[in-house]
């Protein structure tokens, strides 16, 4: 499978990202309060947590998409403003129904009025296995195909900070492995926060693994699996970490 060229492949490592005082409340009920979080520069941080605990909300806050009732400061390690340097992949695919798959993947360039790099977009689509459907409307795609299109769109953005919300949840085991590997390569050197509900996925892809749990939600201490990702599932010691993760996930029942 051809690898899409990444403009930042040889770019310097992305700076770290620090968020402090993050809080969110709905109608008096706090989802989380006064959270602090640091994403190591150039590393992938995976975020786990029970359903409904506030992972997506946290991601949106960091992406600068605050809701009413949300507070917090986010800053980049290089002191530059974060604005315009974040790529965000929502939990929903959010494909635009009036653009075909290729159009959706090049949406960022379209929006910014940049010349459209169809070649790179096609390479990206090829990498996620969607080259044949580049001309179809999103309505003609299966759930997993939509998710892969959204992933391709995010990777096209080529930004130092990447926030992804359950990007592989609708993929079968094989496709998932393929796409994980692709993402792992293309995200190398970037500062990534990846929400997932699969502890094995977190242990495979993350330099650091965080667990958000409790009510109001708190972040557990960062877990750093040994060795650089991607790690094969057979790696010794991962099973112990898996048990730790499960135990932390269970700290508070889902609401």
């Amino acid at each position: 499978m051809a690898e899409p060229a990444s403009q930042a492949a040889s770019a310097p490592q992305s700076p770290s990202l620090t968020a402090t005082g993050l809080g969110l409340a709905y109608g008096g009920r706090a989802v989380f309060q006064d959270l602090a979080l640091t994403l190591q520069g150039g590393e992938i941080t995976c975020l786990l947590g029970p359903s409904g605990v506030g992972k997506s909300s946290l991601l949106r806050l960091i992406a600068g998409l605050g809701a009413s009732g949300a507070v917090g400061q986010v800053s980049a390690g290089d002191g530059q403003p974060l604005v315009g340097r974040v790529a965000f992949m929502d939990q929903r695919d959010l494909l635009l129904p009036w653009l075909n798959v290729l159009g959706n993947v090049t949406l960022g360039q379209r929006l910014r009025g940049q010349p459209i790099d169809a070649e790179r977009a096609l390479a990206m689509l090829r990498a996620v296995g969607l080259a044949e459907v580049a001309g179809l409307w999103p309505a003609a795609l299966s759930g997993g195909m939509r998710q892969r299109a959204a992933l391709a769109r995010t990777l096209m953005e080529d930004r130092p900070f990447v926030l992804m919300d359950e990007p592989f949840s609708q993929l079968d085991a094989l496709t998932r492995t393929m796409v994980q590997d692709l993402a792992g390569r293309l995200l190398g050197g970037r500062t990534v926060l990846l929400v997932t509900h699969d502890p094995w996925e977190a242990l495979k892809l993350g330099h650091t693994v965080l667990v958000l749990a409790g009510n109001p939600a708190r972040l557990g201490p960062p877990l750093r699996p040994p060795g650089p990702p991607p790690r094969p599932p057979a790696e010794p010691g991962l099973l112990a970490l898996y048990r730790v993760l499960l135990q932390r996930l269970g700290q508070a029942p889902a609401p």
Binding site: G64, L65, V83, V86, A87, F88, R92, L107, G108, A139
Partner: protein, 254 residues
Amino acid sequence: MIAAARVAVIAGGLLLGWQALVGLLDLPHYILPSPTRVLRAGWERLPLLLGHAGVTLLEIVLGLLLGTLLGALAALAMVRRAVLRRWLLPVVVLSQAIPVFALAPILVLWLGYGLASKVAMAVLIIFFPVTASFYDGLRRTELGWLDLARTMTAGTRRQRWAELRHIRLPAALPALGSGLRIAAAVAPIGAVVGEWVGSSAGLGYLMLHANARLQIDLMFAALLLLGLIAVALYFAVDRMVRRLVPWQAEQALP
């Protein structure tokens, strides 16, 4: 072919119903003439009718084009600028309450008795449904798409414009389509009302005339022709609107 057959059947059915109405209720011909009478009158005066119909058709088309353009622009303006939304909307609503005879002298003073004043009057009637529907559509964009666009354009200077152009606008096309359909249906009456502003040609003028001369059959012949134009226009616009949103799945209705 099937559509044409259907239209023929509808037309036949309507004419039959009309004939039955006249017969059953014993309506005098100077209130509602029978279709045979109207068709005969129409056939005899066909060149006259077609001449006037041409004038009205021109007004309809111009009114529809300008009205759609103005309506769409007004909706876009209201979505982009809060100040316009607050101040323009009440004025736009107000404009819909002005009857033709209040406006006619002003229009004529500024635009004369030619085509312009009629088209202006038609535009006033046509643009509102477009504005209202399109504006509603532009406001109701899926929030997730807007967030997505915001992260993608953050820090650039074209943020608002890009959002409008690439997200809100295409998302509002179905709503614009609804507005266009209504506009197409009211465009003929818009042109006729425009002709009340003062005219010497057009189906509205002809109808006024025939009505005053008690040539009710001629008036209804003109009305029939106007109705034909209205229905043809509506279905033409309907078809165009469907093309506007090709990604929208056609629903199988019962």
